[in-house]
């Protein structure tokens, strides 16, 4: 039996991704179990899901504690969540990251493969929903599932145009995934989990960064009212963003009536 743990953020589609992968593996004659963990249902918050793959019915109903493979749907998640915890020695990490496996901020007795799933998703879907792109890379680097079965499962989940777009994401990622490399002599980035459950620093959640042009801002307070994270304050009739609390949802950008908010991709 092979056990996989997925780390993502609310909104990246980790749960659906695991389910699609389970279906694809089922097409190849495997018995599978796709287990989501539901916590706070909040866009951007860290989420976990598990996948078990076996040749026969799987009886274990506990969670996966010692995965063979870890899949990370977000490049910065590793700074907050110990994503490689319990990973078997010699195991594999597949992470959404624009650089190579040795530069992805992870080190230890395992291998790391990367794929720039965020940009592939932006180019194929127009949104940073990284689940299908990461699955394409998963097929390539693990060899556990064929591209054909994966595409079939994607189209079953989203029949029609959305499915076609996701199939493109799968294919692009399949081509773009990097070979797994050894990182046993790499120093990983230190994990700094929130000090308490009330700590609200969400700056690492951003894929996009809003920026307010003070010249254009007319002080209408719309962004201030609609920001779900209460990250905007009004100072002298101008909106100001506190980036520690901004998760990059883009609502301020959508709401501003005069186009004073720009919204551009964060540089890693």
């Amino acid at each position: 039996m092979i056990e996989v743990r997925f780390h993502g953020r609310g909104g990246q589609g980790a749960v659906t991704g695991v389910r699609v992968l389970a279906t694809a593996l089922y097409f190849e004659g495997k018995f599978t179990q796709a287990i989501p963990m539901y916590g706070t249902e909040r866009r951007g918050a860290p989420v976990v899901a598990f996948l078990r793959v076996g040749d026969h019915r799987i009886n274990e109903r506990d969670l996966v504690h010692e995965p063979d493979i870890v899949v990370v749907l977000d490049p910065l998640l590793g700074r907050m969540v110990p994503v490689t915890e319990g990973l078997k020695e010699g195991g594999l990490v597949l992470i959404n990251h624009p650089r190579s496996g040795r530069e992805a901020g992870l080190g230890g007795r395992f291998k790391v493969a990367t794929v720039d799933a965020t940009n592939i998703a932006l180019e194929t879907l127009g949104r940073p929903i990284t689940n299908t792109a990461i699955l394409g890379a998963f097929a390539k680097v693990t060899g556990m599932v064929s591209l054909e079965s994966l595409e079939k499962a994607v189209l079953k989940q989203w029949p029609g145009r959305i499915g076609e777009m996701n199939v493109r994401a799968v294919r692009r990622a399949y081509e773009a995934a990097t070979e797994p490399v050894d990182v046993s002599n790499v120093e990983g980035v230190k994990v700094a989990p929130p000090r308490s459950r009330f700590e609200r620093d969400v700056s690492s959640w951003r894929v996009f960064r809003p920026e307010i042009d003070e010249e254009k801002c007319i002080g209408c307070r719309r962004c201030y009212i609609f920001c779900p994270e209460v990250a905007i304050t009004m100072e002298e009739k101008k909106a100001k963003i506190n980036y520690k609390y901004c998760k990059g949802c883009g609502i301020c950008y959508e709401e501003c009536p005069v186009g004073a908010v720009s919204f551009t991709q964060e540089r890693l």
């Binding site: 989501p36 109903r61 506990d62």
Partner: protein, 391 residues
């Protein structure tokens, strides 16, 4: 034609209702049951299921509407979880009192939190409903279909719960075989009520109901009849389970319990629902090491298979019971039932009590291995500090 599909437990439940061709559904959404209601609403909207769907303002009405529909002569279904089931408690007695075969899916959620344990169903222990527990999504689908056949059998005529652990089953996706509609139709004929409500049958139905309630007779009769029906249900469950096996190639132990690797066992552990599933792996691991400990999966909590446990109790020297519930002030409810069953044996095995998985606490393979090993130790005469443990 049967087909396979990777689906979550809640979808398997919806499929059971659909294949049983339920004609009436009334339910109120509650986590983790909600998606059952959504799947069914979707099936009705797409014209795949010809049923009346009544949205209600709460669970008390959901149950009342279902029992009324069943009385009027249609196959009625509802589903709920945790506190929703508590709200239903009152009309559940009315359903069994009128001997109406409403079938209900319970997606376990603790009554003291969001996560699963069996406290919601155990709080309905004395409502005269049958209660059948499932360990995986396939079993949910299969048991859902069987539940209608059992509940509607003229020897039973009692409402029936089929249940599975919330979250662990409700949201986990796995491959499930969906039987073909024609086979299910042949296995499960349409529901015929014995409780007709048409105006011209009013006198007849009044007489029948009065009789069930014991009006003008011994007032205890209604309870006596329900107890007799529960006893009769034991053989009906066995028959239906066997017949299901003949039709669909799957059956679940003898319908009441399943003994897993109990041949030559010195000791057994007992578990319900997903704990029994995980326990299979634990038992496999221990038997690989030559440890003779087996698993008894309790499938039918009501009626309680006392005879089965007497038979098992005669063979083994210790029984370790894993309860995902507790009646504070007494103890584990399954534990109590099992001890009760064993009392009249000439030679009784030792019994151990384990509380596990309450309020959704994870039960790992290792946890069950430890419980099974302790039970085995006691079977071999070891003295342990306590026969009760919180895992």
């Amino acid at each position: 034609m049967k087909h396979w599909e990777v689906m979550v437990g809640n979808k398997a439940v919806a499929y059971a209702a659909k294949l049983a061709r339920v004609q009436f559904i009334s339910a109120f959404p509650i986590t983790p049951q909600t998606t059952i209601v959504q799947y069914l609403a979707d099936m009705i909207a797409k014209g795949e299921l010809d049923a009346e769907y009544v949205t209600v303002e709460g669970e008390l009405t959901a149950q009342t509407a279902a029992l009324t529909a069943a009385a009027a002569g249609v196959r009625a279904f509802t589903a709920t979880s945790g506190p929703g089931l508590l709200y239903m408690h009152h009309p559940m007695h009315a359903t069994s009192g009128a001997r109406l075969p409403v079938v209900m899916a319970v997606v376990h959620r603790s009554v003291k939190g969001m996560q699963p344990d069996h406290s919601d169903m155990m709080a309905q222990r004395d409502t005269s409903w049958l209660m059948l527990e499932c360990e995986n999504s396939q079993e949910l689908l299969d048991t859902g279909i069987m539940a209608f056949k059992i509940a509607e059998d003229s020897r039973v005529r009692l409402p029936t719960i089929f249940a599975g652990d919330g979250y662990i089953l409700s949201y986990t996706a796995e491959p499930v075989e969906v039987p073909g509609q024609e086979e299910v139709d042949a296995f499960l004929p349409p529901y015929k009520t014995t409780f007709p409500l048409l105006p011209e049958q009013a006198e007849e139905s009044r007489r029948w109901l009065m009789e069930q309630w014991g009006v003008g007779q011994d007032p205890q009769l209604r309870w006596k009849r329900q107890q007799e029906a529960m006893e009769a249900a034991k053989s009906v469950i066995k028959e239906v389970n066997e017949e299901f096996g003949r039709w669909f190639g799957r059956s679940y132990g003898n319908g009441l319990v399943e003994e897993y690797r109990c041949e030559d066992a010195e000791a057994v552990i007992v578990g319900m629902g997903t704990i029994a599933s995980t326990a299979r792996t634990a038992i496999d691991n221990l038997q690989k090491q030559g440890k003779r400990v087996g698993l008894v999966k309790l499938k039918s909590f009501k009626p309680f298979p006392a005879e089965e446990f007497q038979r098992i109790g005669e063979k083994v020297r210790a029984i370790g019971v894993i309860d995902r519930n507790i009646s504070c002030g007494s103890g584990g409810i399954v534990f109590g039932e099992i001890r009760n069953s064993l009392y009249d044996l000439d030679e009784r095995p030792k019994t151990l009590e384990f509380y596990a998985g309450l309020c959704g606490k994870e039960v790992r393979v290792e946890d069950i291995e430890r419980m099974a090993e302790k039970t085995l130790k006691v079977a071999r005469g070891a003295r342990v500090a306590s026969l009760v443990g919180w895992v």
